[in-house]
Assembly symmetry: D2
């Protein structure tokens, strides 16, 4: 399988963008494997993602970027060209619950998803053995209520050292401080155990039980400083019944959470998510 | 197909309830076609629904009720025995949108659902021809912002005349006054076009669009004085994408709404919904 | 809302197709509202669909087609440019079951879907009144087992007279003769009441009941001479349980059937379905 | 949480079965936590499952069985009373694919599902390290095409030694010989990677790709001597599109497979599955 480059761009909508970009690619011999465009009617913003066979181009990646830059400037694009063969560096953060972490480790271990796990940070030590069996560094950083500042200072240091492209909160159960959120804009993904915006905050399954809903859900979203309010990447639900206790809702919800989180992370790793204000364009 | 009786009961949980009830039924020769029970662990309430072949009993329905009463009293039951062959009287209330009304009319016309439509009330005259083609009385009761009191007085009178067992708000788009809600407790069913409790109130698809959710939903619930907060009977969702406009969300949502509403109404007509505080037990 | 043109094309895959087509459109001032491409790796076939604002072009539709023809020839395209404002002529064929027919009539009546119903053909007279209330011609063409040839000769004549762009078998329950199928290639849509290829042929719900499946489904597909084997456009399922009788499976299945059929028909009407051998590319 | 007993029974349908059983339980002070019944109209067979609080009974489990036996005989029941605290012995069989095995190991490791894994049998050695990290015996039994008989003789011996209550084929990829199937009737669960009865046999995703379906699925079923034709316990599907390659269908299918298999296994472990000919009654 040949390697691919992924061209991602956002710009004001205009006549001729696709023609200009695909004309440029064609002039370089570029073989387009997948092309997605979206024009947002409310804001007149244009979004695009192209997958190009690397071996169809005469240019190296730096040369390609250089050659593309004038065209991007002409249309006022925010843009990037990613090499699909460069694996993103990911830090996983978890608490005691293992379902999301185990699932991402499985997908990494089996090669189903392409990324490097450069570390796991947890406020508990429970998952250490399992993580270390995978030869992945485990950072136990307790977050005592009495001294969260110190805990997050250490977390920040561990993250800085790890230099992640992406941080995944795999049911981390702690609210990150605003400074940390803003250090990694659109690079922290969380899984919330409800169909947001229903049941923001703590214990959403308890809230769902009290309200007597017939569906429970999970939401994968980027983390912003505003709790559970960042751009949504993916959601799904499971059907429940009056006879499901909170414990059973938790169990049924776990299966939804891990799949929704893995899907959202995969979209991000494959550069399929473009952000538009507080919303996402997902070229699935 | 033989007729059936439906025994519905709620009482404090206790050892021997099922034995007592099924023992009573067996003593009368009663052939149980379906039996559902649920014991709510939080409140120690017990809920049951039995379908009994009418022709297996020696007793008439009044006799059956009389014979059952002492046992019901012993366990402190709220209870009822319904004759499945007695069609419930239903008033449909709609506005201009026809999808839920048309769907219920289809299910009624085709015999898929067993009930009598004793009238349609609408604050617009648009649907008159279609409803009247079905030989169903159409009551056009405008609800001007300037004089809602008079409008609802007339609505109340029309309803009193119709003497409905059930009122279905098939996208009626008006908030019923509290007195009307309390006149028909657990007998008014509404369809709300979101997955409650997300997007309470007006224009939920616009709210969903703004929030950038990936699923839209619909909720069928009993109407209480508290807007969009009554006991939920049924919910479902549909998947959307960034490229779906509000208009497309409305279109996709309509298919979910009509199915969710029809399912909820069917459950009610078949005496499958028991109410427990602000939640429902649905013996589907 | 401005009118749009829809350019649909299939050709051997090659470098520069998108560039050439979008370059052509840009040279005419064409504002692309939606663009979809797909390259089939097995066959090296390329498929595309573009929506262009009509008022952004200086050319009339005939002029546009003429201007595009040389480029289409260069790439060996099968292609068409449709005017979205020209409503397709549709004949509905039904039997006694009304759910799919009623649903399509509702979507037509309410303006949710844009098409003209130029006639209904049925082998029973049951649905006449309902159809005629809509001012749609109703053709009662019985299909006696003893003389199907004559019946289909008359059906063929009625169809020829109606000159449909699309024929929809809305649970028609009769197998069309091969000549009729080949007269309208990729222009006859059927709804089959199973998840094809499971349960081909008659009484699929009975087959599903016997096999004890936990999901029932419906499949919308183009009709070919090979029974239930044509290209699939859309499918969906509903969950069932051991306690669902065949009659209940039929009832639950109806809701799936009408939605799947309507979705497939809408895709076709909006020129979203491209056919590739026995498969479809659906630019949803 | 108190321990429970699970009474499972099948018998010819009759008036008074529920009354007799619940009357018996009540006479022993038995607190019924959950009660499910189903009467199959086609065969006049009756199925029931009761969960009883162990500590509400004066009898030990052997005493309870002895006391219940006469009543069971009177109604001609096939029956059993299981102690929910006795963990079932399970052997997992896998090949190279790890998704189902990893998932069941996670659910076991995390305590989400209660059972003992008494061994893993595989025709490859790939998964040994991972399994042995869990302190579970790993039996590598290659199945060469040239000598399957010897391989299955050894498999049979390993199984006999392990004395499993349940054998789970977690994508084992080999067809078990009939003798092995009949040694463990209704005690071997398989996951098939299609919505049976569609795509029986090898490479169902390839078959699905060729047919151009829009949904792929997975089926959890009991293994009988008839390939992929045993009683179905659970099924689910995932939506695919024309642009999904076989490899992507395999990836998307894995998530469905592992959830469907885990659900089916959980139902079995909790004694929720009763078998009726080639169908299952699942008291979920």
């Amino acid at each position: 399988m040949s390697n691919t480059y992924r061209l991602i761009a956002t710009c004001p909508d205009n006549t001729g963008i696709i023609a200009a970009v695909t004309g440029f690619l064609a002039s370089q011999g570029g073989w387009v494997l997948a092309a997605n465009q979206y024009s947002d009617p409310g804001s007149d913003c244009f979004f695009m993602r192209y997958e190009i066979r690397a071996d169809s181009l005469d240019l190296s990646l730096p040369q390609l970027r250089e050659a593309f830059a004038p065209l991007a400037e002409q249309f006022g694009m925010h843009w990037a060209i990613h090499d699909a063969s460069v694996r993103k560096r990911v830090v996983l953060m978890a608490s005691k619950l293992a379902h999301c972490l185990s699932d991402l480790l499985y997908r990494w271990r089996s090669g189903e998803m392409d990324f490097d796990i450069v570390g796991v940070i947890s406020n508990h030590d429970d998952l250490r053995d399992y993580v270390e069996w995978h030869d992945i560094p485990y950072h136990y950083v307790p977050v005592p209520a009495s001294d969260k500042a110190a805990a997050f200072a250490r977390t920040t240091a561990v993250l800085a050292e790890a230099a992640p492209d992406l941080i995944v909160l795999a049911r981390y159960m702690q609210i990150l401080p605003p400074e940390l959120c803003s250090t990694y804009p659109n690079r922290i993904i969380n899984i919330h155990h409800s169909s947001l915006p229903a049941f923001v905050g703590a214990k959403p399954y308890h809230q769902a039980y009290e309200r007597g809903v017939k569906l429970i859900g999970a939401t994968c979203h980027y983390v912003t400083e505003d709790l559970d309010a960042g751009p949504i990447i993916e959601q799904d639900v499971a059907r429940i019944s009056h006879h499901n206790s909170v414990a059973e809702m938790v169990r049924l919800g776990k299966d939804v959470e891990r799949n929704v989180l893995a899907t959202g992370v995969r979209y991000h790793l494959e550069d399929r998510v473009l952000i538009h204000g507080n919303k996402t364009i997902v070229f699935a």
